[in-house]
Amino acid sequence: MTDPLLAIDGLSARLRKPLLRPLLRSVSLDVKAGEVHGLVGESGAGKSTIGKAVLGILPRAIEICGGAIHFAGEDLLRLPHRRLDAILGDEIALIPQDPMTALNPSRRIGDQLTDGLRLKRGMRGAALHARAVELLADVQIPEPEAVLKRYPHEISGGMRQRILIAAAFSLDPKLILADEPTTALDVTVQKEVLRLIRRMQAAHGTGVVFVTHDLGVVAQICDRLTVLYGGMVVEQGETATILASPAHAYTRALLAATPRHDQAGSGTTPIPPAVTAALATEVACYGMGPAAHG
């Protein structure tokens, strides 16, 4: 068995104030190279917090109080700054959620796309331009030369998301964190973007952490998944297995609450209060453990 690319081990995080409210409770998960791992949960489940912790972009108000994030054999939480700078944004990249706000409206697409190549690889001039054209062609953007000169407002939302995908892959990272990358898109565009992420990831052998609240998206793109509730891992395993026969009552309830276009009468069963109440108790007990040894 190969070593995982990313191994999160007992990660706990909490709000500095007020009251040191725990946000992540001893979360463990691993992602192998070439695998798409879904993080699923409702709002407040901690899925984005995990993503931000991996990328080292947690807001100041949140502190990590236990655990480790092993990436390619190194613990990201204990690395010196300089080494971290070499990894983040280079070996680990981000596909952000909202293609409308992730791009600077006053800079041309070409300049923003090549930030990584210039800053991390020192590329300049004709070589840089040629690589930029190549990157856009990779994400199937027609007339890449023309698009490089455009501003973000001049292109469609789906195309903006393609640009961000091209930028994420520009340094050929080992791991990509995709934070709800299709939530803001129409369904037909979403399908194109999912297809693109899958194709690029498979071609480059990239590991992907895919954050989403949409079980449909998870079912179609993730190899494995982690279901989160209240900063705690509820269930983890192969996507097909979990969705076909969820072991945990919460996962079952979440599936039952999800409306389906191919099934009448679905999606009108809220998660029973008993299920969340049981989890809340579990969550409350969990909170005591990790904070103590952090």
């Binding site: 409702e42 709002s43 199937q140 953007i141 027609p142 007339e143 023309a146 698009v147 455009r150 001049e154 292109i155 469609s156 939302g157 789906g158 195309m159 393609r162 129409d186 369904v187 037909t188 565009v189 979403q190 399908k191 194109e192 999912l194 297809r195 899958r198 609240h213 949409d214 079980l215 449909g216 998206v217 998870v218 079912a219 179609q220 793109i221 996507t239 097909a240 969705l243 076909a244 309830a253 979440l254 599936l255 609450a257 999800t258 409306p259 389906r260 276009h261 191919d262 099934q263 009448a264 009468g265 679905s266 999606g267 009108t268 069963t269 809220p270 998660i271």
Partner: protein, 285 residues
């Protein structure tokens, strides 16, 4: 089921608005066609879904049905009265009978007002408002499943689901006959969404409310609506009973929309199946 009487009847409704992307010197902006002639009927007790991708004109159609926009063609009738060109004063008596629930309860509820003020806003416009106001407020809150004690709270003290219920309570407080719900569950978690959908179904049934439900989410529409219209580029491309349309879409566009929905049952071929529509990669302008 016997056909219920039509409450909203739109015949060849057209809408043109100034094109904000075009400019000809200092003169007025040219008009852009937002709705091509569109016909739609909403009956009492019926939930009609309006679905489409962004820019398809679903919100514009909804707002025109409420006469928030003035149609530039066709005819719009509410309960048999022609309101196509009615003035604001003429519309006043109808306003109480048609209401709207907004997408984002975070931004559509005034953060400085208590729930009492927010939900009561519509009631205050009615003649003899003071009488029975409190009773009406309590009734509206109870009907959407909220504790009347919340009346004295501010929106920020409520959860997202509770806030959306306040939005619904505000809309139904005036006992309207027609309610337009524009993407009201898109910001909610699935569990909260399920609660809101169940609530809407109950309201439509018990109050014989005519409900127009705008959404980009076909899965939600399928499980809430009786009838659905599919919009694209300002036109209705397909219309039908929910059960029929989802089982046998008549147009390639509806087929394409349905095929693009990821289902929570893994389907290894789904991602690579189907043509990629080229439109979304085009440069805007």
């Amino acid at each position: 089921m016997a056909e219920a009487p039509a409450l909203i009847e739109a015949k060849d409704l057209a809408l043109e608005l100034p094109d904000m992307t075009a400019r000809r010197g200092l003169g007025p902006r040219p008009l852009a066609r937002i709705l091509h002639p569109v016909s739609l009927t909403v009956r009492r007790g019926e939930i009609v879904g309006i679905v489409g991708e962004s820019g398809s004109g679903k919100s514009s159609l909804g707002r025109t049905l409420l006469r928030l926009y003035r149609p530039t063609g066709g005819r719009l009738a509410f309960d048999g009265t022609d309101i196509t060109h009615a003035s604001e004063a003429e519309l006043r008596p109808f306003r109480r009978r048609m209401q709207m629930v907004f997408q984002d309860p975070q931004s559509s509820l005034n953060p400085r007002h208590r729930i009492r003020t927010i939900v009561g806003a519509g009631l205050d416009l009615a003649p003899g408002a003071a009488r029975g106001r409190e009773d009406a407020l309590v009734a509206a809150l109870e009907e959407v499943g909220l504790e009347p004690a919340l009346l004295d709270r501010f929106p920020h003290e409520l959860s997202g689901g509770q806030r959306q219920r306040v939005g619904i309570a505000r809309a139904i407080a005036t006992r309207p006959e027609f309610v337009l719900a524009d993407e009201i569950v898109s910001g909610l978690d699935v569990s909260t969404q399920a609660q809101v959908l169940t609530l809407l179904k109950t309201l439509a049934r018990d109050r014989r409310l005519a409900l127009a439900f705008i959404s980009h989410d076909l899965s939600v529409i399928r499980n809430l609506c009786d009838r659905v219209v599919v919009m694209r580029a300002g036109r209705i491309v397909e219309e039908g009973a929910c059960a029929t349309l989802f089982a046998q879409p008549a147009t390639p566009y509806t087929r394409q929309l349905l095929d693009a929905i990821p289902s929570p049952a893994p389907d290894p071929g789904w991602l690579t199946r189907g043509a990629v529509p080229p439109a979304s990669t085009a440069i805007v302008r």
